[in-house]
Each structure stands twice: as C-alpha cells, then as structure tokens.
C-alpha cells in the first residue's frame, strides 16, 4: 500500500491541492520512484516547472498504479544545473529526463544517451544542458548519432522529407546489407510550443490547441483536456455528456484502427483490403461528422460537456451506418487475415517482447499486443468507462501480426460498445457549468486514445491560472519501442513495422 507520507494517491480526473503532494529532497524522491517503478508502477508523466521559488526547478512525478486504479503523486526540487539521472535504473524515464534537460537546462548526470528531444531552446535563458550558444537557431536532427563501426557497415538516413505524404522525422539506420543493427530516430521538426501556449492562452483557446495537437487524436486530446479543466474547476459533467464523449472517442478509435489496417495492407501490396479500408475509414469519419459536423471531431468537446447533442433521428442514422460499417469492415479485414501471403508477411516481424514493453513503458495497442493488460479505460477509468467495462483486447505474439490483430479485436469491441451506448443514451443535459479553476491545485487526466495513453497534467497558480501544462502523447513512450523492434530486422521491413506502431510525430513534438 502507498505510504501517504511518501506519495499522494489520487485517481484519474481529480484535482488535489499542491500542498498535499509530498515533497522530498531529491535523493529520497529518486529512491521512492526507483523502488515503485521496480515494483511495477508505471511513469505516466514526469516534468519540471519553474513556477516555485526562483533558482530551482520543481519536479513532479505521476506514477500509475494500474493494479489499484490509482495515481501516485510526489514532487521534489532540483537546485543547481544538474541532477543524477534515474534512467540507468529506470529506462522508461529516458525521454522524460532528456525533456527536463532540454526545457530547463538541467543536466541529468549519468544519462546514457543525453540528446535533445525536440531541438528547442531552453525555457530558462542562460541555462543550457549542452552549453549551446544562446540566440542561435537549433537545427532539428543535428548532433551525433549512434554509430556501429565496421568495414561493411553502412548508414542509411531517411527523412525528414519522405516519399509519401507523412510527417517529418529523421531515421538513421546502421545496416549490414539488408540487416539493421540499430535505428535511431530524431524528431522535433514539428515543435510548435503547445505546452507554453496552453499556459499563456485563455482557457477557451486552449481547447483548440488540444484539438489540433495531433490531428488524428482530436477527440482523445480534447477529452483529456476537458476532463482536466473540469477536475480543476470542480465541474460535475452529466452522464449524457460522458456517454456522448465515449461514443466520439470510440468512433475516432474505429476510424484510425481501420485506416491502420488498410495502410498495413497497402504496405505489403495487398490491394483489396488497402482500398476497402481507405473507404471504410471514411465511413467512420463521416459518423463522427453526424455527431458534430466535423469528420475529425473538432467542436465536439467542451469543458463541462459536449458541443453537440444527438436526437433520435441521428441516433437511428448512426446505428444504420454502424451496422453497414461493421459488415464492410469485417469483409475487408477478414480477407486480410485469411490470406496466407499476408500472414507470412506479418508473423514474427518486429517483436517487442513484454519485458521490453515494461522496461520502456510502452502503452496502447503496442503493449497489449505483447500481452500486457494496459488500457486506461480498464486500469484508470474515467467518465462512462467507470460504469461500462470494455473487454481488454490482448494478444501475446508481440509482432506486427499481434499489433494488427489487437486493432481488429478493438474494432469489434468498440462497435459493440457504441451500439450499446446508442441504444440507451442517458437522458439529461449535455452541458454542466464550469466555474473558475481552483488556485494552487494539480490535476491529472488520462484517456485511452486510439494510440494509447494520453496524459494531461495541469498545475494552477495562486490566481487560479494554469502555470504549467504537461502533455504526454502515447508516441512519446512508444517511439523507443519502434527503434527496439527494428533491431535485427530487414531494412525493407521498416515501413511495415513503422505502420504497425503508427506513431504521431506532432504528438511527440508538441
């Protein structure tokens, strides 16, 4: 059990007063974190904030105890320009520590691979973890990459400009012929400064930043954001709003999962499923448009509830479309999983074993494909998911096939869930009033987006204004998983593996 003097236990979507969060000296803080992560707690978020006394940086840790459905909070303070890194003992912190190094110019001593995350300038002028000259532009992807030495080793650099219409990212392969020894991924090309923008903007505009943070996860991020604002303002949203939100969230999952299966099919040159799934994805996007008038769900979410309601006619329309969509998707996807040439291409490729998923803190379908029972809707439920249980979809082969098959399982569960919600949509209003944000509070909001756990954390100051807004997209956890899965694979399989994770560049770059 949690010792209250060490960590504060709270739940998803609840605000706690800042002074309740135990504050330790750095050594104790690190000792607790390392002990708890070794005992199976997961790092949901770890971030610094300069909002306290000048001169030092406060750091906050959000640990997810999935077995007890609780979140544990603790904090500490880093004085000076460096701190001992925890990454060597707790690998899932590797990117979080690099992020703190980049944002606040604090050097994690002993970090095995200390490179910038997003190639942004430090938020604390005069402090830079790499002693780069101030005022000079930082070019994304610059700096050294991990190299394998040898006569016949060659390096293949892909991106940031790609042949298809995808986001920019740089991939550096160390190869021997077709064999890949190591892949290093450099991102940051899409850094827009969303975390800072969330702080300086009025709350109303922040919603639109959340919606456009990662275009394919509009509903996911907007829900996480709204849930956070509601927690901080003490708003009780209605059951009908919660139900409508979950319908939108599952529709987003459906559209993206179907699109992913189609894209996987396209990558291996299996045309029928690629073409059909492209269209069926559009059908599901259109269902979101029936809900709120926008195919990607913009405008659907509002702090306190939803922007749109469903009437009986549109519920019927949605149910008809859902039935048709389910039939079409089943036809296209079963064809895919029934073709031997497809299975030969997917099975045994890009294995990301369960123990590595634990080590790296992998979330979402990628973790469930390795047999991990990790799903926010199940472990840290909020909204309607507290009342309606969705079956966990897991598989255990941890390869490209598993990641594809878990998506197909989730597609079926999500359709059943939406149907259930539409059948008995709770009555009532869709909007509850939100008051001003409570001053001096912190809230954590977790949502299972289609890619995995979305984590939004906000901290309010004395006037009730947001002082620090921390966003963790599932891609932030999972990019390292892709790099790991690529080891000892064929370089020609990289697009297939990449698609099986289908991670977000802008969600990572923020």
């Amino acid at each position: 059990m949690t010792n209250p003097s060490e960590m504060l236990a709270t739940i998803n979507g609840q605000a706690v007063a800042l002074e309740q969060i135990p504050r330790h000296d750095l050594a104790t803080f690190q000792r607790i974190v390392l002990r708890e992560t070794a005992h199976g707690q997961r790092v949901a978020s770890y971030f610094g904030t300069a909002s306290g006394n000048p001169g030092g940086i406060d750091v906050f840790m959000v640990l997810a105890n999935d077995a007890n459905s609780e979140l544990n909070l603790l904090s500490s303070r880093i004085e000076g320009d460096s701190f001992p890194a925890m990454t060597p003992d707790c690998n899932q912190l590797h990117l979080f520590e690099r992020e703190i190094a980049e944002q606040y110019g604090l050097r994690p001593e002993g970090h095995p691979w200390l490179k910038p995350v997003r190639y942004q300038a430090s938020w604390r002028p005069g402090h830079d973890a790499w002693n780069r000259p101030e005022g000079q532009p930082i070019i994304p992807g610059s700096g050294d990459f991990y190299r394998v030495e040898g006569d016949e080793i060659h390096e293949v650099a892909v991106g940031p400009v790609h042949a298809g219409i995808i986001e920019p990212g740089h991939f550096r392969f160390q190869c021997h012929g077709e064999h890949v020894y190591h892949l290093e991924i450099a991102l940051g090309y899409q850094h827009r400064g969303i975390e800072q923008a969330m702080v300086s903007q009025p709350v109303k505009r922040a919603l639109h930043y959340a919606e456009t943070l990662a275009g394919d996860t509009t509903i996911g991020h907007a829900t996480a954001h709204c849930q956070l604002i509601e927690a901080l303002s003490g708003c009780k949203k209605t059951v009908r709003a919660q139900s409508l939100r979950s319908i939108a969230l599952e529709l987003e999952r459906l559209a993206n999962h179907i699109g992913d299966l189609g894209a996987l099919s396209g990558d291996i040159g299996f045309l029928p499923t690629a073409a059909y799934c492209g269209r069926i994805r559009g059908d599901f996007l259109n269902m979101t448009a029936v809900l709120c008038g926008n195919r990607f769900g913009r405008g659907m979410l509002r702090p306190g509830g939803t922007g749109y309601d469903l009437d009986a006619a549109r519920i019927n329309d949605l149910r008809t479309r859902l039935d048709q969509g389910e039939k079409d998707a089943a036809n296209a996807i079963e064809l895919f999983f029934d073709a031997p040439s497809v299975l030969a291409r997917l099975e045994g490729k890009g294995i990301l074993p369960a123990e590595i998923c634990h080590t790296l803190g992998i979330v979402g379908p990628a973790a469930r494909a390795a047999g991990l029972q990790r799903d926010v809707r199940h472990d840290q439920p909020s909204g309607i998911y507290r009342f309606v249980q969705l079956p966990l979809s897991t598989w255990d082969s941890a390869d490209v096939f598993a990641r594809a098959y878990v998506r197909w399982l989730e597609i079926r569960h999500s359709i059943a869930f939406i149907r259930e919600q539409l059948q008995a949509l709770p009555a009532g209003s869709i909007q509850a009033p939100t008051g001003p944000l409570k001053p001096g509070h912190l809230a954590v909001s977790l949502i299972e987006g289609w890619r995995g756990e979305l984590c939004h954390v906000a901290l309010t100051g004395e006037q009730g204004r947001i002082q620090r807004y921390k966003i963790t997209d599932p891609s932030f956890h999972n990019w390292a998983g892709l790099a790991y899965a690529m080891r000892d694979q064929q370089i020609s399989d990289f697009p297939l593996l990449n698609k099986s994770f289908n991670l977000s560049y802008c969600g990572h770059d923020l």
């Binding site: 650099a157 059909y276 073709a339 064929q490 020609s492």
Partner: protein
Amino acid sequence: MFNIFIHLVLLLVMPPLLLGVINKTKALFAGRKGPPVLQLYFDLIKLARKGVVISQTTTWIFVGAPVITLVGIVMAGFLVPLGPFHAPVAFTGDLILFAYLLAIGRFFTTAAALDTGSAFEGMGAAREVTFACLSEPALFFALLVLAKMSGSLVLSDLLHAPLAVGSQGAAASLVLVAIGMFILLLAENSRIPVDDPNTHLELTMIHEVMVLDHSGPLLGLILYGASIKLFVLSAVLLHILFPFQSGSVPLDWGLFIVEMLVVAVGVGVVESVMARLQMRHVPYLLVAAILFCAFGFVLLVR
C-alpha cells in the same frame, strides 16, 4: 514485309497499353474505378514535355542509362517472334544476344543508380543485381528446354517449338517452363510478389528506387522501356502458354493481341490476390523458377 511492319508497330506502340490493363484489373479487384487504360501514354506525353533536373554529382552514365536501356530492350524486341510470325532479325545464337541485351539494360540502370551516390539507390541496385543472378539462369534453362525441343539456336525457331512439336512427351516440360517463365515475368518487370510498382516507400523498393532521381523525358524513357520489357517477356511466355495458329495472317495478329491482353489481366489478378513477399524470400521464388525450368529440361532429356 507486312508482318515486320506490324511487329515494329506493336513493339513500339502496344506496351504502355499492357500496364494500363494491369492497373485497370487491379482497380476492379479493389473496388475502384482506376486510371484510364491509356494513362501511361498520357504520362509519357506529359513527361516528354517536362524539364530535367540532373544532380551535379552525376556523370554521363546517369543520362545515358535510360537511353541505352531503352535501345537494348527494343533490340531484344526485334529478336523475339510475335505469335506464329518470324522475328525481323534472326541468326544462330541470337538467344545469347537476347539475354544480354536485357542484362545490358540492367547494368546501366544499376550503374546510373550508383552514380547518384544515394544510399537508397545503392540499396536498390544491390537488390536488383542480387535477384538478377537468379533470374538469368532461369531464363537460360527455359530457352535451353525450347532449344532442345526444336534443335535450333535461333529464337524465331526455338520459340515456335511448342507450336511445331506439340507432342505428348513435351507437354509436361512445357507446363514447368511456363510456370518458371511466369515467375520470371513478374520478377523481371518488378511486379508483386517480388516488387511493388505502386509503393512510395523507398526502403522497400527494388526497381523504382533506382530511378528516383530521374525526371522528365529521362523518366519517360525509363517507364517506356519498362513497358516494352513487359511486352517482350510476355511475348516469349505466350509462345509457351498459347501455341496456337489459325493460319490466317490477320486472325493470328488479332489472336496475338488478345493473348497479350489476357497475360496482362493475369498479372493484374496475381497482384490483386496476394501480398508482396518479404525481401528475404524473393530468392526462394526465383530459385523455384530455376527449378521449374531445370526440371522441364530434365524431363525432356530423360
């Protein structure tokens, strides 16, 4: 003279149509409308009117390769008889020239790819050459079967062997050779399951990645040459698949065109119903092609 004229016209004009038919077949299977059957003709006209961007690091090889490849494959087309008619050029041992006209095109395409110094193109060139090592023996075994059957080393005669022999004893080896040659057709023309002509993923490409840096008329020459290669190899395959002759000249030409389109539809169907092989397994398929052709030979000489 009339037949030679028709041979040249078909060789130079018909090939882009085959790719149009393949793409249309694939589109129908996928429930799409697909591009017009004549799309490649439009593309070639468009490319011919465009400018060319040439990297400063390249040499004459980069510009020369598409021309040499095209000339090579057109010359190979002169040696192959279409349908029951004789080829415009025929001499003893021309099958060797045929094989190496294909090879010289490959040599210059890969050389031009290496000329750019790009990591992708080098990778594509390596794959192309590796797979060629296996497809060439398959081609020779196939031709060997036909040479043995006809007792001639002239392409015009040996490709007509199935037509002339037509005996019960040769049927089994012809079936095996036909399978081997069909695999060869898919591999040589970078079709699924060996390569994916539609992919935009440079890391998985074989043929497409080698020509990434070519643009405008040079790219047009490459696409045109690739379609002629498909035409020529399909013409070779047709001799084994459909050894029929009506006797009437116009009817035979019409029959040839229809057979050609049937092969294109067949390629389209194969591409539609199966996924691409993983790169590592492509050699297995090509070895299978060698074995089919080799067993065909064994059956014949037994």
